[in-house]
């Protein structure tokens, strides 16, 4: 219950920021489907992610809700971040702190907190960061299963990385990209479990909304030298930027 109040307060602060400063605003609206051994049948979600920018500061959140498999959870994931943007050799370098909350069921959730640096140069996007993954049993777990002690476990620090290559200059009206990474908006895998992301973007005019589509391929056991297919997920949506 407390978490709902925190979310509400957060949205209120974000809304206040938007109305009181001349912020740049961007919103992504998307839908996705994922299939893997535990999202079975495939999980279908819809979500949105507003991002506000004022001078060099930025703040964002993203939320995804389940359209099916809603018996155990309705919110698929929620993430938020805030950061500061520099210019290094005329290219943007963003540093940010983030937090991601992902319910597993009505008794358990997975949380991630960390920091990352993003750098964009012409056709390339690089990201490097570090995060902590922790599992947390909630109050339902105490009531239903008597889990009152040892309800949190924090895992070892985890490296985050992304190397993304675009076929054309970033910002082009259409583009194709390939991305080798261990994280995306709502999932942060262990550093030794890389994912492959193939994507496409298109916008009709300079100021028109941008359509995007990403296909993610997940593997298990790469660093065990026994790579196995794990799952795929697909996300598509529209990104609208107001300058």
């Amino acid at each position: 219950m407390k978490i709902k109040y925190v979310f509400f307060l957060y949205f209120l602060i974000c809304s206040f920021c938007v109305t009181t400063v001349q912020a740049q605003f961007k919103i992504d609206v998307f839908a996705g489907v994922s299939s893997n051994p535990v999202d079975n049948p495939p999980l279908i979600t819809i979500g949105h992610s507003p991002q506000f920018e004022y001078h060099n500061f930025f703040v964002s959140y993203a939320m995804d809700v389940n359209l099916n498999n809603r018996d155990k959870k309705i919110i698929n994931a929620f993430s938020t971040g805030l950061g500061y943007k520099f210019a290094v050799k005329n290219h943007p370098l963003k540093t940010s702190l983030f937090y991601c909350y992902k319910p597993v069921s009505n008794i358990l959730n997975v949380n991630n907190a960390g920091l990352k640096i993003d750098y964009t140069v012409r056709k390339w996007y690089f990201a490097l960061g570090n995060n902590f993954n922790f599992y947390k049993f909630n109050n339902n777990a105490a009531e239903i299963y008597g889990i009152t002690d040892n309800d949190v476990l924090v895992e070892a620090a985890n490296l985050m990385y992304s190397v993304k290559y675009h076929l054309r200059e970033i910002g082009s009206d259409w583009n194709l990209f390939i991305n080798l990474t261990n994280f995306e908006l709502f999932i942060i895998e262990q550093e030794t479990n890389p994912m492959l992301d193939l994507g496409f973007t298109y916008k009709r005019r300079e100021n028109s909304p941008k359509f995007f589509a990403d296909l993610w391929y997940q593997t298990a056991g790469f660093n065990n030298i026994r790579v196995n297919y794990f799952g795929v997920f697909f996300r598509t949506g529209v990104s609208w930027e107001i300058k």
């Binding site: 893997n36 993954n133 298990a220 660093n223 065990n224 026994r226």
Partner: protein, 279 residues
């Protein structure tokens, strides 16, 4: 000068890959994926009933070891001798018994055949190198099954899972879920054993199952009151408590490892207790 460096690097890499006991083709593909291995394990289980070990005492113990990596057999022999001369009811070897080579499997089979008490085996990622699953299956059969220990009062359940590919796979997870749903209430304690460590409590270069799968299993273990989860893979002992489930990682048995060891599980009416043992 540049060419000399290139030749040196090329020779070094050739030497490295040639000398390694690893099947680097596994970086891009796997023969005998988890769904196929599970399907074969189920076939094997149909003609080989799950074992029950009976004991006249309410208190008993068993041993769980992992990462033998035969080649060397010194520690494995010592483990088998300790087990045979003790009153431990069972020995579970939780993967990475060999590095996939048939000749190593043959060495291990000879050693195992000398042990008269029950020895339960599970595959690890190294056992699958060089098409190793085929030899494992030919020699030992299933890598997904359960066994039970019956005391005069109550039975306990031990579930062995195949995580050698870094994922448990859809069918095996469904099998586990059904097993717990249908049978958990018939047993006092429940222990799950597999190779790849689920929790990543220290930073290592090895791969654990993906976060989605780990979270799902942690939730399942909480719902069905799994008491203990034992893994190997990491080679370094660890114990963590999350909710009502204890998660253990055993030391490796491999000869070259300075702190080689295994874990003993003592069971009585008050619960499951563990003790890490060193060679």
């Amino acid at each position: 000068m540049g060419n000399k460096i290139k030749i040196f690097v090329l020779l070094s890499l050739t030497g490295f890959f040639g000398a390694c006991e690893a099947d680097f083709s596994g970086l891009i593909r796997s023969t005998d994926r988890v769904e196929k291995r599970f399907s074969q394990s189920v076939d094997y289980n149909q003609s080989h009933p799950y074992q029950n070990i009976s004991t006249a005492s309410e208190n008993y113990s068993l041993l769980i070891a992992s990462d033998l990596h035969i080649g060397g057999t010194k520690n494995t022999r010592e483990l088998f001798e300790t087990y045979e001369s003790s009153d431990n009811l069972a020995l579970v070897l939780a993967g990475d018994i060999v590095t996939g080579q048939r000749e190593d499997y043959e060495v291990f089979r000879t050693l195992k055949d000398s042990v008269e008490k029950p020895v339960f085996l599970i595959t690890g990622n190294h056992d699958l190198f060089f098409d190793g699953w085929k030899t494992f299956y030919e020699f030992f059969g299933s890598s997904t099954y359960y066994f039970t220990v019956s005391t005069p009062e109550v039975p306990d359940l031990y579930i062995c899972l195949d995580s050698g590919g870094g994922t448990f796979g859809k069918s095996q997870i469904k099998w586990l879920e059904d097993l717990l749903k249908d049978n958990r209430d018939n047993y006092r304690y429940c222990t799950v054993i597999s190779h790849v460590n689920m929790l990543r409590t220290r930073r290592t270069t090895s791969a654990n199952p993906l976060v989605e799968e780990v979270a799902y299993l942690i939730n399942l273990f909480a719902e069905y009151k799994v008491n203990l989860v034992v893994n190997g893979h990491d080679h370094v002992q660890d114990a963590a408590q999350l909710g009502n489930t204890t998660y253990l990682i055993t030391d490796a048995v491999v000869d070259s490892y300075e702190n080689a060891g295994y874990v003993r599980i003592d069971v009585d009416a008050t619960g499951l207790k563990y003790e890490f043992k060193r060679f």
